[in-house]
């Protein structure tokens, strides 16, 4: 397995599980022009991310995310892509598109608190009632 690490805007740290296991692998980040327009990003938000990226060993790319990742995969001779899981719908759509042509491993983030899948999320108080038992055991 020769992975390409896709670093996206929800997980910019090397010790996260998706990246920590592949620290020697090439890593890329893509500024997606369509996303920046749809979400009306201001320059200061881009700059904040950019400064985060400058402290990481990552190639900074721009363009269509799926296309740039495919090109990067070819250029680096990688046979799969690894990235961090996120609830962000745009990133999930990119992962699904990538899976049309390559293997993608999506590593979960370290859970803040491990809760039953059936945890009641209708209100924060209900969530917290269960979360605090784990976070502050008597």
């Amino acid at each position: 397995m020769k992975p390409l690490v896709w670093v996206h805007e929800d997980c910019l740290r090397q010790e996260a599980p998706y990246w920590n296991q592949h620290r020697e692998a090439p890593a890329v980040f893509v500024f997606d022009d369509e996303q920046l327009e749809q979400e009306e990003w201001t320059l200061k938000r881009i700059a904040f991310l950019y400064e985060c990226l400058l402290e990481l060993p990552v190639e900074i790319l721009r363009g269509d995310t799926v296309e740039q990742l495919r090109l990067a995969q070819q250029a680096y001779g990688c046979d799969c892509i690894v990235t961090a899981d996120t609830p962000e719908p745009r990133i999930r759509r990119v992962i699904e598109a990538l899976r049309q042509h390559t293997r993608v491993e999506v590593a979960p983030e370290e859970p803040f608190v491990e809760l039953d899948d059936r945890v009641d999320l209708r209100r924060f108080a209900r969530y917290w009632k269960q979360a605090q038992l784990k976070l502050f055991p008597q």
Binding site: E15, F31, L43, I46, L56, R62, A72, A75, L121
Partner: protein
């Protein structure tokens, strides 16, 4: 803005791998800058459309080294009783947490290590848990965080609310010293104290009767910690489309937690829309069947 990007060991180690094959079509961006001004100029050239929205950098800098600097002085016990004040002991960690520069679990561990008993960090951990909670809902709802999760509990229908923000709100030109200052701070820095976010959101939705989505879009353009999960669902909490009742405030509350920073110099002093008791404002803002 001072020059230099803090090119310490961390940055010098951050060298990306070189491609093995010719990288036709790869659109690489530059990584070497001699100053923050040079970075700003480069980004303005590369991203002209975002630069039309605003072309400056925030005084808040990105990067792990900055995140660690914000994490080092946290005081969870003091946070618990000062966090509602604009000059309270808040951390400014949210932009770094939002982008995963630092893990929520690590922030929690550091907080717990700073107190004699975990109970003293519980309020701090609750606030971290709100982010976990919003992210779990985002996983379930996805783009559904843009829809009203429930009807408004204000006595008004969604159709009673305007679709867009008045332009003077975004520009900070309404004549309300507090709200204008918050709008300008948002545009200038990409950051607002959480209490200020709640006041602005309540004003936009309940006083101006504008749909929360318009306010949420405005915030997301600017906030360095902008995230549809925390942002939109917090707006919905204020609006009452994801809570049992609307959140609102009065001038006395704002004056207390800003330590009078705005009310004293406000051009609308004496004619402030936030003046009055909660009961009076409730009658003014909401239709009568809504409980206080």
């Amino acid at each position: 803005m001072e020059a230099g990007l803090g090119r310490g060991d961390l940055l010098q180690r951050a060298v990306p791998a070189e491609p093995q094959k010719p990288a036709d079509g790869l659109r690489k961006l530059k990584r070497e800058f001699s100053s923050r001004e040079e970075l700003a100029r480069y980004l303005q050239e590369q991203f002209p459309r975002p630069a039309q929205r605003d072309a400056h950098l925030s005084p808040i800098r990105g990067g792990r080294s900055q995140a660690e600097a914000a994490l080092a002085p946290i005081q969870p016990a003091r946070y618990a009783f000062t966090r509602n004040y604009l000059d309270g002991c808040v951390t400014g960690l949210s932009p770094y947490i939002r982008h995963g520069v630092i893990a929520l679990t690590r922030v929690r561990e550091v907080a717990l290590s700073r107190v004699a008993h975990p109970f003293h960090a519980s309020k701090f951990v609750v606030e971290l848990a709100w982010r976990d909670y919003w992210r779990r809902l985002y996983g379930l709802w996805g783009q559904g965080v843009w829809q009203d999760r429930e009807p408004y509990k204000t006595g008004w229908a969604a159709s009673d609310y305007a679709e867009s923000l008045p332009v003077e709100v975004e520009q900070g030109r309404t004549g309300l010293a507090c709200m204008d200052a918050f709008a300008r701070q948002l545009a200038e820095t990409g950051y607002l104290h959480n209490h200020a976010r709640m006041w602005v959101a309540a004003w936009v939705v309940h006083w101006l009767r504008v749909k929360w989505q318009a306010g949420a879009r405005w915030f997301l353009k600017h906030l360095l910690d902008g995230d549809p999960a925390s942002n939109n669902l917090s707006w919905q909490w204020v609006a009452s489309t994801f809570s049992h009742k609307p959140y609102f405030f009065n001038r006395e509350n704002l004056e207390k937690y800003t330590r009078g920073a705005y009310c004293q110099k406000c051009p609308q002093r004496g004619d402030c829309p936030f003046e009055g008791s909660y009961e009076e404002l409730h009658r003014k803002l909401f239709r009568s069947q809504v409980e206080g």
